[in-house]
């Protein structure tokens, strides 16, 4: 008795073909808008001379964190500049910033809804598991007909991979608000909306920021994979060096990624703890 194997792969390919013919017009339009945003942000950051941007970054670090971080940022950025990786660093920064923005814009309402509705929560948790564990390579190449080659496909893949923590942490933050505070708000006759905006969200802000921080870190871990579909930046420097067997160049670009990651991590951590008075 032979049990035939389920033609899952064929079904998926059929579904993809159908989606391509039906919806690639829509996704292409989204893609063009996104590309304009990416180019704009890139051009704006390229337009600034490196020393000016470096000063802005150092100032920002000082303002939100400490002079120690500002010194570290100055040294790290100067090293990236010195290694001639400034432009790829900007491209990677743009990619991470836009992917994080998109992820947070989607994650906030979804996370809030999941916190308020038990049924929705149970529905989306498996979906989040799927998004976080599905190997990115699987949807990387099929994304090309929808979003083209380059940064937009890379952002699509990055958002899929890095959005789940932002949703989870938002849900967690709102659920962790102490019961007695909610009861107090109810006792004063607060509407659901008031409760959300005045009690639940402000109190869950630190958890929420931790989620955003996780999203940024995961987005950075995607940079090399993103390079395989033509995204620019430090990832493509690494990818190129690896393929040409030039480990030195690979490490240089890798170290630049580490510097960028540490910087973004410390800045978002400081934001989370609240600015020092």
């Amino acid at each position: 008795m032979e049990i035939p194997s389920i033609p899952l792969g064929q079904w998926i390919e059929g579904g993809l073909d159908w989606l391509t013919t039906e919806y690639s017009g829509v996704t292409r339009a989204i893609s063009r808008v996104t590309q304009t945003g990416i180019d704009g942000l890139n051009d704006a950051l390229f337009w600034l001379p490196p020393w000016a941007l470096l000063l802005i970054i150092v100032g920002l670090c000082w303002w939100v964190a400490s002079y120690r971080l500002a010194i570290g940022a100055a040294l790290g950025m100067a090293l990236i500049w010195n290694l001639d990786l400034w432009d790829p660093m900007i491209e990677t920064l743009t990619l991470v910033v836009i992917a994080t923005l998109v992820a947070v814009v989607i994650a906030l309402p979804v996370g809030i809804a999941a916190a308020l509705s038990e049924r929705l929560y149970r529905t989306i948790m498996p979906v989040l598991d799927f998004m976080q564990t599905m190997p990115a390579f699987v949807y990387l190449i099929p994304a090309i007909p929808f979003f083209g080659i380059g940064s937009v496909s890379a952002i699509f893949a990055t958002v899929i991979f890095s959005m789940p923590p932002a949703i989870r942490f938002t849900t967690l933050g709102i659920r962790q608000v102490p019961k007695d505070l909610i009861e107090a708000a109810d006792a004063y006759g607060a509407t659901r909306r008031q409760k959300l905006l005045k009690v639940q969200l402000p109190l869950s802000l630190p958890t929420l920021m931790a989620g955003i921080n996780q999203t940024i870190m995961l987005a950075l871990s995607m940079v090399v994979i993103a390079a395989m579909i033509g995204a620019d930046g430090l990832g493509s420097e690494v990818w190129r060096a690896i393929q040409r067997l030039r480990p030195g160049d690979g490490f240089e670009a890798g170290i630049a990624v580490v510097i960028l990651a540490m910087l973004l991590d410390r800045v978002t951590q400081s934001l989370r703890k609240g600015r020092k008075s």
């Binding site: 704009g40 090309i144 080659i149 390079a227 395989m228 033509g230």
Partner: protein
């Protein structure tokens, strides 16, 4: 609180910059001839040819964008029209399964380089000379052939080689082009024996002293060719660029000159290609005369 207006000013300035960038991008697209997008894989041979074609198209007045991708993404890009053309299609074997998938959406412009070769490569100091001798010497290289990406045509041919030569003691290890060259590099450093799957043109032959194992049963077959593939519709959209791409054909020797230039420390492939194009105008003019 004092920071508010400054913030707003920065925000306004960046908005203005983005708007300005948008305008600049808009005006840059008003080219007289148009833009050609080429995709390629980061193999030494394709880096050389793609940059040369870029320089030639630029000489003819086109704007050229080149994008480095993985092989699958490159084919997908030319099929979906994201890339106008690729000059990096290894046919009839290596990229056969990609071409099968997308043949309705692309046009094969024929060969741009004849005389590539596939096979098993060993360091020049290795005693083995032929694939037929591999089985009895399997212990010298741990019975492993170091391969490249699973799914590459070179890999399925190598499996056929193991079968046809009855290599009982030999396994094919898959990895990627990068892991294969890294393994080769470390074996050479330690003067060890290693067998890798490889192809010509490849920069490894410029960097190290290597040799192909003889293939008496001719499983790897004759040489492959590198083809130029264009997206469907390029002929109508950019007839001039299409004609140049169609006419582009050169020899392994010419490609070797460019690849050697790219091997130099800190070499910039685009600059090397431009220089080669400048020095070989007689060849280039033949490609341009078609348009």
């Amino acid at each position: 609180m004092i920071k508010q207006p400054i913030n707003r000013r920065i925000r306004f300035a960046s908005l203005a910059m983005i708007a300005g960038a948008g305008l600049a991008a808009g005006s840059a697209q008003a080219q007289d001839k148009g833009t050609v997008n080429l995709a390629y894989v980061e193999w030494a041979s394709e880096v050389a040819s793609t940059n040369v074609v870029r320089a030639v198209l630029e000489q003819a007045g086109y704007e050229v964008e080149i994008t480095s991708l993985s092989a699958a993404a490159m084919w997908q890009a030319v099929a979906s029209g994201d890339a106008d053309a690729i000059v990096a299609a290894w046919l009839p074997t290596t990229h056969e399964h990609y071409l099968e998938r997308v043949s309705d959406d692309v046009v094969d412009l024929g060969t741009n380089l004849d005389g590539t070769k596939l096979g098993l490569v060993v360091p020049a100091y290795t005693d083995v000379d032929s694939i037929a001798e591999l089985d009895e010497n399997a212990d010298t290289f741990d019975g492993t052939i170091t391969g490249i990406d699973p799914g590459a045509g070179l890999m399925s041919l190598t499996e056929k080689v193991i079968e046809n030569y009855d290599l009982e003691e030999v396994d094919l290890q898959s990895g990627s082009g990068a892991t294969m060259t890294a393994a080769l590099d470390s074996a050479l450093d330690n003067k060890e024996d290693i067998v890798v799957t490889s192809w010509t043109p490849h920069w490894m032959f410029a960097r190290w002293d290597l040799k192909y194992l003889e293939d008496p049963k001719d499983v790897y077959g004759g040489a492959e060719q590198i083809h130029t593939i264009a997206r469907d519709g390029l002929k109508e959209d950019l007839p001039g660029a299409y004609a140049i791409l169609d006419a582009f054909e050169w020899t392994p020797e010419q490609m070797g000159e460019v690849m050697l230039g790219n091997q130099a420390e800190d070499a910039e492939p685009y600059e090397v290609a431009k220089q080669w194009v400048a020095e070989n105008q007689d060849v280039v003019q033949e490609w341009l005369s078609e348009s």
